[in-house]
Amino acid sequence: MSLYSDKEPDIKPPALANKVLSILLPNRLAESVLGDLEEEFNLLAKQNIKRANLWYWQQALETSRIYLQKKLVSVEMLGRLNFYLPLIMFIMTAGLIVLLSILSDPTSISDTFWDELLQGKIHTALFSTHFWHNFWDILALAEWGMFIHFESLLISFFSIAMLLYLYKEQQASITKLAVCGYSLAFIPYIWSIMHIANHSFEARQIGPIVATGILCLLYQLPPVSYIIHRKLMQLKAVHLEIHQ
């Protein structure tokens, strides 16, 4: 049953609004949604074309807003973010670890870097142009020994075990898993900064504390990203099953 007569309409809905909708709507629904809109548009256009155009734009904008929002939090988008962001953070963290191991002149990074390092804030090197100009040269100086630290491995092992426990619980949502996973990865580094701030350590004692925090981050980023990727794949499989 159609709401309207079978006469071929001459007036077309705004092309730009249609284009925006065809980009944002999922393939499965695009045809039906655009068809429904055109059907109602044709009825309104017979009475008042200006009102029909305005109505069409209102519908198109509100519908675009809804589906743009959905697209931004879609499984595919989250999957890409969960891959690229941890990868970038992993490379940057590796660079900071090498810098911490080889640094002989902190003023080469910035005038204030030595003071910041004494507070455990190795991440401030990320704001230095010198660090980025020489990033790949710094990374090239990496040795395997710099990345092996027993205490950090132990902390990371327990953190990942906790996350796996959460992952195996079927009720754990993707948001809960991501927040817990990335929090567990960052907590040791944040703790190291707070620990240094609350105690009066000598300069030579600060390095190992910062190293523990930042190595925990390095160890945990890949497994956390992988566990979230697995959960996202499960979600995707459920979505596909429903749409088949």
Partner: protein
Amino acid sequence: MSEKDKFLGEFEQMTMLALLHLENAAYGAAIRQLLAEQVNRDVAIGALYSTLERLERKGMVESRLGEATAQRGGRAKRYFKVTAKGHSALNRARQAMDTLWQGLSIRHSLCQKG
């Protein structure tokens, strides 16, 4: 199915009731019009489809592609139907509301508070 998937929101209930009213003619434009005329809910077509998609995910509604017409620019309609699971959920929601409404009226409760 998670706990929240067992319950229906107000707009979900309205949409499913509209599908039942429209029987075999329940497609986007018709549902939107019925909601606007009968309950004064003039929603965007995107909001309606978003709700229908969610109901489909919950297994309360199913859809199929229908015929295309010239008024639709040659595009096919998507017809929606309430499933058996959807019927049970609607009945459950109605029973819950009836139970809570028993012995109450808004005027009565306002008078008591006043």
